[in-house]
């Protein structure tokens, strides 16, 4: 019983859905409700719009400032100095202990 043909079932159910288009009836005076909503929509407050645009401008400025700070910090940091003379480095490491004062020296 379980080996039902799902493709056929899908086709049949979709045909059933096609044969039952939804109603297009409209509730009584629905257009009045829409017009009332449109009329009662609060007129836009110019000060609120001004305030929100100021906030948006401030956020954009802050983002630009942070980006500039990151850029200038990464640009001004001195690059690590790579030693060019390996022999001198080796010499200074090997003889480093000789430059230190001995603990049992008087």
């Amino acid at each position: 019983m379980f080996d039902m043909n799902l493709s056929d079932l899908q086709t049949k159910l979709l045909r059933a859905a096609r044969q039952a288009p939804p109603r297009d009836t409209v509730p009584y005076a629905f257009e009045k409700r829409i017009m009332h909503r449109l009329a009662s929509a609060a007129p836009e407050n110019p000060w609120a719009a001004w305030g929100s645009s100021l906030w948006r401008g401030a956020l954009a400025c802050m983002a630009v400032t942070i980006l500039c700070a990151v850029w200038s910090y990464s640009g001004s940091r001195p690059a690590p100095v790579a030693s060019t003379d390996f022999s001198q480095d080796l010499q200074s490491v090997v003889f480093a202990s000789m430059g230190q004062p001995s603990e049992d020296a008087w």
Partner: protein, 191 residues
């Protein structure tokens, strides 16, 4: 003689908001029928239709008049319905064990003799409505537009704002998703 859509729209854009009402009266049956394909509860349908007309009023200045106003409005309606489906995704989880007795009988009849199951029966309609409710938002939209309303892929692309290849991909996935749901129903019923 009744004013044309273009005259009414021009009047609204000129500041006469009351001229929007004849547009609402003219097109609300189509918008209601569209909304009823995606929402079952009448309160949800009314909310969708209201949102469609409020958006239409707010965005009327963006209507360029290249295509009929009805096409522009239906695009808005379909996209609003899609937003509704996406926002109600969480409510999709239902068990199929609660199929009504007529739905179970119809399914049993189909299992025994597929040709004998009447696709005009109320039980078949209830069952397909139940299956559609289980689909993801894009799958439900594309199945409804492509398979039930029998629109072309190009029309669907225009209505939804998706590209033609994306519509095809989503249609393929939607059919697979629907078959998976049907398999689950069949399994729940017979195992």
């Amino acid at each position: 003689m009744d004013p044309t859509d273009a005259e009414l729209i021009a009047a609204v854009l000129a500041g006469d908001a009351a001229r929007f009402e004849p547009l609402v009266v003219k097109y609300q049956p189509r918008v209601f029928a569209t909304a009823r394909r995606y929402a079952r509860r009448e309160s949800e349908v009314e909310d969708i239709v209201q949102e469609v007309f409020l958006k239409a009023f707010q965005k009327l200045a963006t209507f360029r008049g290249d295509a009929p106003f009805e096409h522009w409005l239906m695009r808005l309606a379909v996209r609003t319905c899609y937003d509704f489906l996406r926002s109600h995704q969480r409510n999709r989880e239902h068990a199929f064990t609660d199929l009504s007795p007529p739905e179970q009988d119809w399914l049993a009849q189909f299992g025994a003799a597929p040709d004998g199951a009447d696709d005009r029966a109320d039980a078949a309609r209830q069952l397909v409505a139940r299956v559609l409710e289980q689909l993801s938002a894009p799958a439900r939209l594309v199945i409804t537009l492509l398979e039930i309303e029998e629109r072309s892929v190009k029309e669907i692309a225009e209505l939804t704002g998706w590209s033609v290849p994306l519509v095809k991909v989503r249609a393929f996935r939607a059919r697979a998703e629907m078959r998976k749901i049907l398999a689950k129903i069949a399994k729940d019923q017979y195992l």
